[in-house]
C-alpha cells in the first residue's frame, strides 16, 4: 500500500519532468542538425532557405496550441490526483461555452493563418515556376534510370551521368522524366523534390547561391541499387561552366544508341560518366517511347 503511494507520487511528477526535458532535447537536436548537415535545413540556395523558414514559422504558430497543453496537462494531473483530493470534484461537469468557443476557435484561427500562408507559398514555391533573375535559366534535362541519373545539357549538347554541373547564381531549370520506374529527384540543400515518371515530364527550378558541391539523390525506392543512387551537384562560375562544357565536347565520347542501351540496363556505376555529344531528341524520345507518340528511341535503346 505504502509502496503503491510512493510510486503514485513519482508518476505524477515524471510527466512534468519529461515534458520539459523533451522540449530542451528537441531544441538541442534542431540546432545541431541545422549547423552541420546536408539537408535543406542547411540551405545553399533561396528555395531551400524559404522552405526552412516556413518550417520554423509553422512550428512557432503551432506552439500557440501545443504549449498550453504541455503546461495544463501536468498541472491538471497534479491538482486533481485522487490521493490528496485537493481539487474540487465535479463528476458531472461536462460543458462550458467559453471553453468550447476557445477550443474550437483557437485551432480554427490558426488554420486560417496557416492556410492563408500555405495558399501563397504553394504558388510562390511551385517547382514549375521560373525563378526571377536577370539571366535566362540554364536548361538541363534529367532522366532517371536504374540506378543512376543522366543529365543532358541541350544548349551545350553534352551529357553527364551521376554528376551535374550548374552555374552558381544562375537559375537552373530541370526538365525531368524516367526511363524506368517512378523516382523522385532531389538536391536537398537547394530545394524540394519532384517525381519523375515514364512517359511524362515534370519540372523543377532551382538556384545555388554560391559555388559548392551538393549531394543529389533519388528519394523514391526503386530496388536493389536504391541506396547508391546519388549524384554530385557542382555549382561553379559561368566561366568554369563554359570551360567544362567545351572540354566535354572536345574530349568525351558521344551518348549514342549503344551508350544509351548500356546506361539503360540496371546497374550501379562506380564513377560518374561524361559524354561529349548527345543523340538528337534523346529526352523527348525517352518520353515518346512510352507514350507511343513519336517512336524514336525506347528506354532500352531498341526500336528506333
Amino acid at each position: 500500500m505504502i509502496e503503491n503511494m510512493v510510486s503514485m507520487r513519482r508518476h505524477q511528477e515524471l510527466p512534468k519532468i519529461l515534458v520539459q526535458s523533451t522540449g530542451g532535447l528537441l531544441l538541442l537536436m534542431f540546432s545541431v542538425a541545422t549547423t552541420a548537415s546536408n539537408g535543406f535545413i542547411n540551405p545553399a540556395g533561396p528555395i531551400a532557405e524559404e522552405l526552412r523558414d516556413h518550417l520554423i514559422f509553422i512550428v512557432m504558430v503551432m506552439a500557440v496550441v501545443i504549449v498550453p497543453l504541455f503546461i495544463a496537462l501536468p498541472w491538471t494531473l497534479w491538482r486533481y490526483r485522487l490521493r490528496t483530493k485537493s481539487g474540487s470534484y465535479q463528476p458531472n461537469w461536462e460543458f462550458s461555452w467559453p471553453l468550447e468557443i476557445l477550443i474550437w476557435g483557437l485551432p480554427a484561427v490558426i488554420v486560417v493563418v496557416l492556410g492563408w500562408n500555405l495558399w501563397h507559398q504553394s504558388y510562390e514555391l511551385d517547382p514549375y515556376k521560373p525563378l526571377a533573375a536577370a539571366e535566362a535559366p540554364l536548361e538541363i534535362q534529367a532522366i532517371a534510370l536504374d540506378w543512376k541519373w543522366v543529365f543532358i545539357y541541350p544548349d551545350q549538347n553534352v551529357a553527364s551521368v551521376n554528376e551535374v554541373m550548374i552555374v552558381a547564381g544562375r537559375p537552373v531549370r530541370f526538365r525531368l522524366t524516367s526511363g524506368t520506374v517512378m523516382q523522385s529527384f532531389m538536391i536537398p540543400r537547394l530545394g524540394g523534390q519532384i517525381y519523375t515518371m515514364a512517359g511524362m515530364e515534370t519540372q523543377m527550378n532551382l538556384l545555388a547561391s554560391e559555388p559548392g558541391q551538393f549531394r543529389g539523390l533519388n528519394t523514391q525506392y526503386n530496388g536493389m541499387g536504391f541506396a547508391n543512387q546519388k549524384f554530385i551537384t557542382h555549382a561553379v562560375s559561368q566561366a568554369d561552366f563554359d570551360a567544362w562544357a567545351t572540354k566535354m565536347s572536345d574530349s568525351k565520347p558521344p551518348l549514342n544508341q549503344a551508350a544509351w542501351a548500356l546506361l539503360a540496363k540496371p546497374s550501379v556505376l562506380a564513377a560518374p560518366q561524361s559524354f561529349g555529344s548527345v543523340a538528337e531528341g534523346l529526352f523527348t524520345g525517352v518520353i515518346a517511347g512510352f507514350t507511343g507518340g513519336h517512336p524514336h528511341m525506347k528506354a532500352d535503346g531498341t526500336d528506333l
Partner: protein, 694 residues
C-alpha cells in the same frame, strides 16, 4: 516461367524457394537471419501443437474457439492474431534499425533484397495484420456490450471476416519460409511492383494477403455499422452511446467506403501481373498515377480507421480513471464525425510531389490542415475531462496521458507535412517515417495497449499486474522518443527512408541512438508478455468476479467478468449517458430483474474455418501458379457458403430457467462482495465491486 512449369503439380514452386534450403546453399548473415526467422516460426508452431496435445487442448480449441461465432471470442482471436503479428513486426523494425545503425559506409548485415522485404513486411503487417486486427478485435469485444446487445448483427459473417484476415496473415507468415515477400513497401507502387520490374512471387504474396484482409475488413465494416444502427438496447439512443461506440461507428463507415479502392487497386495490379493488362504499366496506356490515387483514397481514411477506435478507448479510459463524465460529449461526437468525413478529402497529400500544380496542392493542403481543428478539439476535451476529476494513474491511464503529450508533437509535424512546399523537402525522408510512427505508436498502439489493460479483467476475470504494466509503459515511452526523435533530425539532414546503406558519417550517432530506442521498445513488448504471464499465475489473487474493477461507467461493466455467452441475462433499459454509473447512483445496479426469457444464441459453425483454410490455399496457389489448387480453394470457399445456406438449424435456445439460475447466483455473489474504494484499486481487495466515488 515456361508454360509447362506453370501447369505442373507445384506450379512455379521449387525446392530452392524454401528458406532453409537457401540458407544452406548460401550461408551468409542475411540468409542466416532469414532462415532463423523461418525456423522460429516452424519451431513455434510445433511447440504450440505439442502443448495443445499435452494439455489435451485440441478439442477446446476447436469447439470453444475456432468454430465459435460469439463476438467476444472472435474479438479475442483477432487480438491474438494482432499480438503474434506485432511480435514479428517489432523484431523486423529492430532489425532494420540495427542494420541502419551499422551501415554508414558499410554494407552492414542485410542484403538490399532482404532489407526491402523487411520494410515491406514490417509496414504491411503493422497496418493490416497488427493494427487492423487489434482495433477490429477491440470493437468486437466491447461495442456490443456497450450498446446492450447480445452479439453483432451477423455473427457468422464476423467469424468469416476474422478467418479472411487470419488467412492473409498466414500468407505473410508462409512467405517467411516459402519464397520471398515483396520489396515494394506497404504501398506497393507500380510500375516497380509490375511484372517487368518485380518478377517472381514477392509482390503476389503482398497482393493476395492484402486482398483477403481487405475483403474481410469491408465485411466487418458492414457488420459493425449494422449492429450499431440496429442492435442497441431500448433507450440507448445514438447520443447516449459511449464514445467508443461513436468512434466504432465512424470507423465502420470508413471501412465500408475506404476498403473498396484498395481491393480494386490490388486486383488491378494482379490483372497487370497475371493477365498482361496495362492499368499501371509504363507503356501501352498504363498510368501508375491512377494507382497512387486509388491506393491513398484508401490509405488516408485507413489511418483514421485505425486511430478513431483508439480515440474511443482514450475517451473511455480518461473518463473512467478521472471518475468523471466525459467533457464535451457532443463536441467530441461532432469532431469525430468531421474527421471521418474530412478524411476522404485529403488523400493527395501523400503525393504533393507528383507534379499536379500549385492550386491542386494548395486545396488538398488546406483540407489536410482542417482536420487539425477537430483533432485539436478532441485533445482539449480529453484534458478538460480530467479537470475537476479524481485522477488515478493506472497503466491504461499512463498510456493515455503519454498519448496526449506525444500525439500533439505528431500533429505538429503533420501540419508541417501538410504544407506542400515544405513537404517537397521532407517527403520520402526519415522525417516522414518519424511522423507516421509518431501518430501510429502513441495513437493506435498505445490506444490498443490501454484498451487491453482496461478491458482485460472484463474479458478474463482477473486484473493484470500493474507493476509490470507500468514498467512496460516507461519502456514504450522512452523507447518511442529515443527511436523516433532522431529520425526527425535525420530527415531534416537529408536521410531518406528505405535506405539500406548510408554514405554520410554525420548520420551515425543519430542512427545509433535510434537503435537503442528500438531495443527499449522491444523491451516494452517483452514486459507486456511478462505482465501477462505473471498475472495469469497470480490470477486467484486478482479475480474480479463482480465485474466492475475500475468503477466503470458504461454497460459492459454491469455484467460478470468474464461475461456470460449472451452478455446480458436481461437486456438493460437505458435512461441516459454513462448508463452503468447512473444505475449505480440510483442504487439499481445488481437488482434482480422481474422476469427472465429464453435466450437465442447462434450455434457454432465450421463454415468460417473452412473458408479460412480455403482462402489460404487459394492465396498460396495463386502466388505459385498452382492452378489445380486455385480451383480447389475457390470451390472450397464457395462450396462452404452454398452448403451453409442449406443449414436451417443455426440457433440454439438457452432456457430462461438456466439464465435465471446463473444470473441470480452471480447477483448473490456480487451482493456479498465488499465494495472497493478507488485507492485500493490495485490490491487484492478489489474483487470488482466499486465503491461509488464522492
Amino acid at each position: 516461367m515456361t508454360v509447362e512449369s506453370s501447369f505442373s503439380l507445384l506450379g512455379t514452386l521449387t525446392p530452392q524457394d524454401i528458406s532453409f534450403v537457401q540458407t544452406f546453399e548460401n550461408p551468409v548473415m542475411s540468409e542466416f537471419i532469414d532462415g532463423a526467422a523461418g525456423s522460429v516460426l516452424v519451431i513455434g508452431m510445433i511447440i504450440v501443437a505439442a502443448l495443445l496435445t499435452y494439455y489435451r487442448g485440441w478439442k477446446t480449441l476447436w469447439f470453444d474457439w475456432l468454430t465459435s461465432v460469439d463476438h467476444k471470442k472472435v474479438g479475442i482471436m483477432y487480438i491474438v492474431v494482432a499480438f503474434v503479428m506485432l511480435a514479428r513486426a517489432i523484431i523486423e523494425g529492430v532489425l532494420m534499425r540495427y542494420q541502419q545503425s551499422i551501415a554508414v559506409n558499410d554494407p552492414g548485415v542485410l542484403t538490399p533484397d532482404h532489407f526491402g522485404q523487411l520494410f515491406s513486411t514490417h509496414g504491411s503487417i503493422m497496418i493490416f495484420f497488427m493494427a487492423m486486427p487489434f482495433i477490429t478485435g477491440m470493437i468486437n469485444y466491447i461495442m456490443p456490450q456497450q450498446i446492450g446487445a447480445r452479439d453483432v448483427s451477423f455473427p457468422l459473417l464476423n467469424a468469416i471476416s476474422l478467418w479472411l484476415t487470419a488467412a492473409g496473415a498466414a500468407l505473410v507468415m508462409i512467405s517467411l519460409v516459402v519464397g520471398k515477400f515483396s520489396t515494394g513497401g506497404w504501398t506497393a507502387y507500380p510500375p516497380y511492383t509490375g511484372i517487368e520490374f518485380s518478377p517472381g512471387e514477392g509482390v503476389d504474396y503482398w497482393i493476395w494477403s492484402i486482398s483477403l484482409t481487405s475483403i474481410g475488413s469491408t465485411l466487418t465494416g458492414v457488420n459493425f455499422a449494422t449492429t450499431i444502427y440496429k442492435n442497441r438496447a431500448p433507450g440507448m439512443t445514438l447520443f447516449r452511446m459511449p464514445l467508443f461506440c461513436w468512434t466504432s461507428l465512424c470507423t465502420s463507415v470508413l471501412m465500408i467506403f475506404a476498403m473498396a479502392p484498395l481491393t480494386i487497386a490490388t486486383l488491378m495490379l494482379a490483372l497487370d501481373r497475371y493477365a498482361g493488362f496495362h492499368f499501371f504499366t509504363n507503356d501501352l496506356g498504363g498510368n501508375m498515377m491512377n494507382y497512387a490515387n486509388l491506393f491513398w483514397l484508401f490509405g488516408h481514411p485507413e489511418v483514421y480507421i485505425l486511430i478513431l477506435p483508439a480515440f474511443g478507448v482514450f475517451s473511455e479510459v480518461i473518463s473512467t480513471f478521472s471518475g468523471k463524465t466525459i467533457y464535451g460529449y457532443k463536441s467530441l461526437v461532432v469532431a469525430t464525425m468531421s474527421i471521418a468525413v474530412l478524411s476522404f478529402t485529403v488523400w493527395l497529400h501523400h503525393f504533393f510531389t507528383m507534379g499536379q500544380g500549385a492550386n491542386v496542392n494548395a486545396i488538398f493542403g488546406i483540407a489536410t490542415m482542417l482536420i487539425g481543428v477537430p483533432t485539436g478539439v478532441k485533445v482539449y476535451d480529453w484534458l478538460l475531462t480530467m479537470v475537476r476529476g479524481r485522477i488515478r494513474l493506472t497503466t491504461a491511464m499512463l498510456f493515455s496521458i503519454m498519448f496526449l503529450v506525444t500525439f500533439v508533437i505528431g500533429g505538429l509535424t503533420g501540419v508541417i507535412l501538410a504544407n506542400p512546399p515544405v513537404d517537397f523537402a521532407v517527403h520520402n525522408s526519415l522525417f516522414l517515417v518519424a511522423h507516421f510512427h509518431n501518430m501510429v505508436i502513441p495513437g493506435v498502439l498505445f490506444g490498443m495497449i490501454a484498451g487491453y489493460q482496461f478491458w482485460f479483467p472484463k474479458a478474463f476475470g482477473f486484473r493484470l499486474a500493474e507493476r509490470w504494466g507500468k514498467a512496460s509503459f516507461w519502456c514504450w515511452s522512452f523507447g518511442f522518443y529515443l527511436t523516433f526523435m532522431p529520425l526527425y533530425v535525420l530527415g531534416l539532414m537529408g536521410a531518406m527512408r528505405r535506405t539500406v546503406e548510408w554514405f554520410r558519417p554525420e548520420y551515425l550517432g543519430w542512427l545509433q541512438a535510434s537503435f537503442v530506442g528500438a531495443l527499449l521498445l522491444f523491451s516494452g513488448f517483452i514486459l507486456l508478455i511478462v505482465q501477462l504471464i505473471v498475472s495469469v499465475r497470480q490470477r486467484d489473487q486478482r479475480r474480479v468476479p463482480a465485474g466492475d474493477p475500475w468503477d466503470g461507467r458504461s454497460l459492459e461493466w454491469s455484467n460478470s467478468a468474464p461475461p456470460p455467452e449472451y452478455n446480458f441475462a436481461v437486456i438493460p433499459e437505458v435512461s441516459g449517458q454513462d448508463a452503468f454509473t447512473r444505475l449505480k447512483e440510483q442504487g439499481k445496479a445488481y437488482a434482480s430483474p422481474a422476469a427472465y426469457d429464453d435466450i437465442i444464441v447462434p450455434k457454432n459453425s465450421i463454415v468460417a474455418p473452412v473458408i479460412g483454410v480455403g482462402a489460404i490455399a487459394l492465396g498460396f496457389a495463386l502466388v505459385w501458379h498452382i492452378w489445380w489448387l486455385v480451383a480447389l480453394g475457390f470451390v472450397t470457399i464457395w462450396g462452404a457458403v452454398i452448403a451453409r445456406s442449406f443449414v436451417t438449424e443455426t440457433e440454439r435456445v438457452i432456457p430462461a430457467s438456466e439464465v435465471r439460475a446463473d444470473h441470480e447466483a452471480w447477483l448473490q455473489q456480487v451482493r456479498e462482495c465488499a465494495t472497493t474504494p478507488r485507492e485500493q484499486e490495485d490490491t487484492s481487495a478489489n474483487v470488482g465491486r466499486a465503491e461509488v466515488l464522492a
